[in-house]
Point group: C2
């Protein structure tokens, strides 16, 4: 018998159909076309910094001398976990080695956290707009995202606790924040976090706190870790990553950190199934812990300069609103246009100023509430100052002639 | 208000509770105690080869000269995917670059495949015993594993197709094989695979084929890829990994390979959410594609020698049954004992022969059917010949005095 498959009946899963495409990458084909047409495209769409990885990390790779690239422990090399615990102590975050599970990027840490704490159909409240991939992790694990609206007029401050209360149902099992925030750059104050603590404690929820931009705070502000909130030690899972801190996004090393021993023990079972986080990247990450303070001072100063150029420049353009972010290296900007989906595509397809144009990520992909943010875009200020200045000029000129201008 | 959490009500998820612990690692505390007591422990329990990683891969790491460790494309570096397509062509497996998605190990490829093709509650049939972590991936994704029994008396040949037919329900969406097999070392013949093809075609199932041990076939045999089965091109998803091929388990680079474009497009959405596979490991993996044939010849000869020492040695011990594996570097062995759970623990806790003992993985953790394989153990022959000879001797002596001997 020769079999012939009835391929019509082969189906993709419901999750697969629901999985969102990346809002950051969907304009890529238009950008490629623009480049082929000879335009310079300033990439403000993606958080891939141009900052150099610390030399200590690069040196550790060059000096890697093992003859077999072996698995590490499923929780990561113990030496790395010890080094991370020391790093947290320096940051005034009191965690022990056994509270730390090394993961393959912050992405995997979030997937482990969701699989560990939530059943399919459970709900997680997230201030809106939020990092678009949270949707992907939620779909992967069957968790339902419930957005609570923050607003650009308030600079994306924490929504009033009453708004959270309205959304809590018997299915609500957790709250997820990004602090400092991607895509908004908003830095929650200690007071805001204590408001969150109270609602977390009242309803006994998990609090997932994505703190991968901890180092990038400006204007004398500092990030307050959710791990330091008193009284909800068992509820907090902190998500971390070396990607942005050491400008080594491609390493894929992150961490799930919690004082809840059952959470760690359960997440470890998910970690064991995938054997280990990447060994070479762990070697680089461990070395990166020795990055001198001068590196961070320099990087922070650089980002601060970039932010100021961008935010001041954008706010000078008539009709543009750009809250001044206190952290990370993103901002969400409102443009006086019909639709940023159209505007961003038009910039790539139909516009150039002195041979240059700009690529941004339409903010709608970062909003959980449909129809919100349609006149906003996320900008990552990961380009040098000169390029940012030129990009602002391009946007200014573009808005003068964009047909969908409001 | 100072909040105090009612931590009693904080619950771990159902998935988290269901996740199996690793059967390979659960005797680790006993092994550590044995070592502290001064015993030499021969580790036959885990598939971490002692074979050196190819020099070309190690050199590529030493020569890594980028100043920023950046994300790759979510599907992996295009140069790596092109190199992999060439490699498959050499192996007579006809796939194009766009059929390949680079993943973080074979583990992630399987999770993507399950999330892409199955809804929670869907069933996947797997010849039993099987690689224990398949359970973990199934629990993670909500898929139900339905084991179909292979037997040690038949050397773990493919169960009769009639046995598969008995297990097919409206929920059955796929079959998963490992070929050559972990833990059995069994290599499916082309004829067996064609039987599988027929049932896959008849019921229009997905066929997941884990082929990470492709290079390790003995006695003149060769692995036949499921991708070369005619008539079910859209149904097959091949899982691959560089871990064993190049003895670089810690790299965490694998691949999901399929000619089904909808599967690839959907899996890519899951891949985009986690941004990219590890960059440094991809650099090593791309270089490893230039590993000279002499490396594989030498490694294969080494494993063959090890297999022969192990299998011949074990079968000479009265009451021991060890089918001769044609591939991979594992075998499942029957011992004349009450329980290999007890026997393996006893070896570490209560036995030594000339200061040595052996660590094996009880096979029960590899069986989907409870109560099967309780007198079997999985052995990985990843130690040098001298150690293997000594390990066989230890087992021979141990069986003379083990109190639970049958």
């Amino acid at each position: 018998m020769t079999a012939v498959a009835d391929t019509k009946a082969l189906k993709i899963s419901e999750k697969g159909a629901m999985m969102p495409s990346s809002p950051i990458r969907k304009l890529v084909p238009f950008a490629e076309k623009a480049k082929k047409a000879g335009k310079t495209v300033y990439h403000l769409n993606i958080g891939q910094p141009d900052i150099e990885t610390p030399q200590v990390a690069l040196d550790a790779i060059k000096n890697y001398s093992d003859q077999v690239i072996e698995y590490s422990h499923s929780a990561g090399f113990e030496s790395l976990r010890k080094g991370m615990a020391n790093y947290y102590h320096k940051m005034d975050i009191d965690v022990a080695v056994e509270d730390i599970l090394v993961t393959t990027g912050g992405s995997e840490a979030l997937i482990f956290a969701m699989n560990t704490c939530f059943n399919p159909g459970d709900e997680i409240i997230i201030p809106d707009p939020f990092y678009a991939n949270y949707n992907g992790f939620a779909v992967s694990t069957g968790v339902k995202v419930v957005p609570v609206s923050a607003s650009i007029e308030d600079g994306f401050a924490l929504p009033p606790i009453a708004e959270f209360e309205k959304l809590i149902t018997p299915k609500t099992k957790g709250i997820l924040i990004s602090n400092p925030g991607n895509p908004t750059g908003y830095l929650y104050s200690k007071e805001e976090l204590e408001q969150l603590r109270d609602i977390v404690a009242k309803h006994n929820l998990y609090l997932f706190s994505d703190e991968v931009y901890r180092e990038f705070c400006y204007d004398g502000e500092e990030a307050f870790s959710a791990l330091n909130l008193k009284g909800i030690e068992e509820n907090v899972i902190m998500i971390d990553s070396v990607s942005k801190r050491y400008s080594m996004c491609g390493a894929r090393v992150g961490a799930l950190v919690s004082k809840n021993k059952e959470v760690i023990a359960t997440a470890l079972k998910f970690a064991q199934a995938r054997l280990s986080p990447p060994t070479l990247a762990q070697v680089a990450s461990e070395a990166a812990l020795n990055t001198p303070q001068s590196y961070f001072d320099k990087v922070k100063e650089e980002y601060l300069g970039r932010r100021d150029i961008l935010v001041e420049g954008l706010n000078k353009i008539p009709g543009v609103l750009c809250p001044n972010p206190k952290g990370a290296f993103y901002c969400v900007v409102r443009f006086p246009v019909d639709s940023t989906e159209k505007f961003c595509q038009w910039l790539l397809e139909n516009f150039e100023y002195e041979g240059q144009t700009v690529m941004m990520a339409p903010a709608s992909g970062f909003y959980g509430v449909k129809g919100k943010g349609t006149d906003e875009a996320r900008i990552a200020y990961v380009l040098n100052k000169e390029s940012l200045q030129k990009a602002v000029k391009v946007l200014e000129e573009a808005l003068k002639v964009y047909p969908g201008r409001k």
